[in-house]
Amino acid sequence: MSKLLVKGLHVSIEGKEILKGVDLSVRSGEVHAIMGPNGGGKSTLASALMGHPKYAITSGDVTLDGKSILALDASKRARAGIFLAFQYPQEVQGVSLESFLRMAYNAVHAKQISPLEFRPILEGKMALLGVDGAFAGRYLNDGFSGGEKKRAEILQMAVLEPKIAILDETDSGLDVTALQKVGEGICRIASETGAGCVIITHYERILRYVKPGFTHVMLGGRIVKSGGFELVSQIEKRGYDWLKQAQAPEERTSG
C-alpha cells in the first residue's frame, strides 16, 4: 500500500506563482480526477510532481510513503514509483519504443534484463492494451498520431508498473474509439498493478471509462472543491462558474 501526499504545495515558474497551496492524498488503488478549466494549474501540478526542473517549489512538501521526494530529480522519482503520462510526449528519432521501454524498465526496476528476456514482458503488456506488435519497433513517438502517442504513454505505464500514475490530459485530441481504448487500458493497468491514479482532464468523457472515486476541481492554483464521482456529473451540467465562488476573494478580483 502506497500513499502520495501533497501538502500545501506552492509552485512558481520563472518567478510567477502558479500553485498556491495544493493538498492532495492518493493511495494505491484509488482513482482521482482533477478537473478544471485551462490555466487552473493542473498541468503545473503534474510536472511539479514529476520534478520538472523549470518548476520551483516555494513551499509545501510532497511525500511518497512518508518520504519527501522534493530533493529527487525526475529519474529518481520514477525509480521511487511515480509516473507521468505526458500531455505532449517527446519524439526521439533512432530509438525504438521497445528498446526505450527496456532501458526504462531496467532503470526503474534496477535490473539488467536482455532484449530476449524483455520481449515476453512487453508482449504481455501489449496484449493487455490491445496494441499492435509492430508498434514497439517504431521510433519513440516519431511520426505517431495523437492517439498513438497517448497509447504509447499508457504502454509505458503498463511496463513500468508505478505506485502512483499521473495522467496529464491523456484524453485530449482523441476520437471516441481511441478514447475508449485508452480509458479501458488505464482501468486494466490500474486494477492489475493496484497503482493510484491521478487523471487530469478538462472533460468528463474519459471518466466514463475510468470511474474516479475522488473528484477535485482546480481553479486559480488551488483545489477549490473535492467530492466523489457525482461531482463529475455536476460539472458536466453546470460548468465551472458556480465553483468560482469558492475561490479566495483576491483571486476573483485579479481574474
Binding site: H52, F86, V108
Partner: protein
C-alpha cells in the same frame, strides 16, 4: 640526409618499434627522392612524385576552411619504415603492434571472418591476409607500393590521373609527392566479395605524417565492401594524415567504402577521397569521424554513367577543442543519376562542426534525383555548427531535396526521458545514439557496437558534458 636508427626504440614513438629508416623532418626535393629510393621505385613513379612536389610548392595552404596555422609542415617526418616488413601470419607481427590493433577493436575472430585484412603502421604494411579463393578469382589486395612493382600498368593508368589529380589541392599534391602504403584493391569483372576487406592504420611516431594511397577498382558487375580504420597516440606535436582515396565503380558494380577515424587530437586529418561511378554503378560512402584536432574531408562522387547512384552517410563528433569540417560533393554528370547525402554532426564542449557540401547537376542531365540532409546536435552552449551547402543545378527536370537542422537537447526532452527512470547522462546518450542511428545501421555490427560504446564513454563517462 636521412636519419638512420640503430636503437630498437624509435626516437619519439609511443610504442617501442624498431625503425629501419626515417626521413629528416620537413620536405625538400631530396626527401621525395629518398622516399622513392627507399622503396626502389621505377622512374615513372619518381617522376610523378617530383611533378606533384612542384605543384605542392606552387599552392598556398587553403584558408577557406578551418584554421591550419598550427600545422608546421617543416616539422613533420614524412616517411618511416619499420624493421621486419610485412607479415603473412598475425603470429609474426610484433607483440606491441598486435596489442595496439587489439585496442582498436580488431579481434582475431573478426579478422578470420573478413575476406581480406591488412595493417599499416607509419609508412608501411606490417600484416596482410587474403582469402585464397578470392586470390584465385583474381581479386588483388596489396599495399599500393607493392602494386607499383607488381601491377605497374594498372597503377600507371589510374594513379592520380583520372580521379584525384595532384593539381586538385595543396594536400593532394603533397600526398602525390610523399605517399606511402595504402591499399590497392582490384575486383575483377563479375566477382562479388561477400564479406568486407579491411585495412587498419596506426600512426605511432611523434610528429609523423601518414600519406596512404588507396586505389580501388571495381570492374563491371563486381561488388566489394572495403573498410579503413585509423588510430594514433596523442602527442603535444601535431601529426598529419593526408590520404588520397580513388575509387572506380565500373558499369553495374557496387562499392561500399567505410572509414572510421579515431585519430588523437594532435592529428590534422586532411584527406581527398573521390569516386567515379559508371552506368548503373552504386557507390556508398560511410564515414565515422571521431578523432583528430582538425579534420577536413569531403568525399566526392562523380556520377558519370547513366543511372549511377551514390549514397553518402557521415557522422562527425567534434570534441572539445576540435574542428570537424566535412561534407559531401556529388556531381551528376549523366541523366537519371541519384544521390543521397546524410551528414550528422555532434559537438561537445567547444567543438565545432561544419558541413560543406556541393551538389551539381550538369546541363542535359535530366531525371536526376538528389537529397541532402544535414543535422547538427550541440551538447554544450559553447559548441558551434555551420552549414555551407552549394547547389549548382543546371537542368530543370530534376528532383532536389535539401534539409538542414541544428538542435540542442532541450530541457523538456531530457525531462521526458528522465521521467522514465533514465539518468541525465543516460538520457543524453540515448538521444545521441538515436541521432547517429543511420550510421550505426550502415556499419558492420562490431563497429556499430564500438561506436555506441564510444558515445557512451564520451557522454556518460567521467568529465563528460552536462
Amino acid at each position: 640526409m636521412a636519419i638512420e636508427l640503430n636503437s630498437e626504440r624509435g626516437g619519439g614513438a609511443a610504442l617501442a618499434l624498431g625503425y629501419k629508416f626515417l626521413t629528416r623532418p620537413g620536405i625538400t626535393e631530396r626527401t621525395v627522392r629518398e622516399i622513392s629510393a627507399a622503396k626502389g621505385e621505377p622512374d615513372w613513379m619518381l617522376e610523378r612524385r617530383l611533378k606533384s612536389f612542384r605543384i605542392f610548392q606552387g599552392k598556398p595552404i587553403p584558408t577557406w576552411g578551418p584554421d591550419l596555422s598550427g600545422l608546421d609542415l617543416s616539422a613533420i617526418t614524412y616517411f618511416a619504415s619499420l624493421k621486419g616488413g610485412e607479415h603473412r601470419d598475425w603470429k609474426d607481427v610484433p607483440a606491441e603492434i598486435k596489442l595496439q590493433f587489439e585496442k582498436l577493436g580488431v579481434p582475431e575472430a573478426e579478422r578470420k571472418f573478413l575476406s581480406g585484412s591488412g595493417a599499416m603502421v607509419e609508412s608501411q604494411w606490417v600484416y596482410k591476409s587474403v582469402r585464397k579463393e578470392l586470390e584465385d578469382a583474381g581479386v588483388i589486395f596489396m599495399s599500393t607500393d607493392d602494386a607499383v612493382q607488381q601491377h605497374p600498368e594498372i597503377v600507371k593508368e589510374y594513379f592520380m590521373t583520372k580521379c584525384v589529380p595532384p593539381t586538385d589541392n595543396k594536400f593532394a599534391a603533397l600526398h602525390g609527392a610523399v605517399w606511402s602504403g595504402g591499399a590497392f584493391v582490384f575486383i575483377p569483372e563479375g566477382v562479388k566479395v561477400e564479406t568486407p576487406i579491411q585495412l587498419y592504420f596506426l600512426m605511432n611516431y611523434r610528429g609523423y605524417g601518414q600519406f596512404e594511397h588507396t586505389l580501388l577498382i571495381a570492374e563491371p558487375h563486381s561488388q566489394v565492401s572495403y573498410l579503413e580504420a585509423c588510430s594514433a597516440p596523442r602527442y603535444a606535436e601535431s601529426s598529419l594524415h593526408s590520404a588520397v582515396v580513388e575509387i572506380f565503380v565500373k558499369k553495374r558494380a557496387r562499392v561500399k567504402y567505410t572509414s572510421i577515424q579515431n585519430w588523437s587530437d594532435s592529428v590534422y586529418n586532411l584527406n581527398t577521397k573521390r569516386s567515379v561511378v559508371d552506368e548503373c554503378g552504386f557507390m556508398e560512402w560511410v564515414g565515422g569521424s571521431l578523432g583528430a584536432k582538425v579534420s577536413m574531408l569531403y568525399p566526392c562522387s562523380i556520377l558519370r554513367g547513366r543511372g549511377a547512384r551514390a549514397d553518402h552517410i557521415v557522422i562527425s563528433i567534434a570534441k572539445d577543442g576540435t574542428v570537424k569540417d566535412g561534407g559531401a560533393k556529388v556531381i551528376h554528370a549523366a541523366p537519371g543519376t541519384t544521390s543521397n547525402v546524410v551528414a550528422k554532426s555532434i559537438c561537445l564542449g567547444s567543438g565545432r562542426a561544419g558541413y560543406r557540401g556541393l551538389l551539381r547537376v550538369n546541363k542535359g542531365c535530366a531525371n536526376c534525383r538528389a537529397s541532402v540532409r544535414c543535422d547538427a546536435l550541440l551538447l554544450d552552449s559553447r559548441a558551434r555548427s555551420a552549414t555551407f551547402p552549394v547547389m549548382e543545378i543546371n537542368e530543370n527536370k530534376v528532383a532536389i531535396v535539401h534539409e538542414a537542422t541544428v538542435g540542442r537537447i532541450s530541457e523538456d526532452r531530457l525531462f521526458y526521458l528522465m521521467s522514465r527512470g533514465l539518468g541525465e547522462n543516460e538520457a543524453k546518450a540515448l538521444i545521441v545514439r538515436g541521432f547517429v542511428e543511420p550510421l550505426l545501421n550502415a556499419l558492420p555490427l562490431e563497429y556499430a557496437v564500438e561506436f555506441s560504446r564510444y558515445i557512451e564513454m564520451e557522454i556518460e563517462g567521467p568529465g563528460a558534458v552536462g
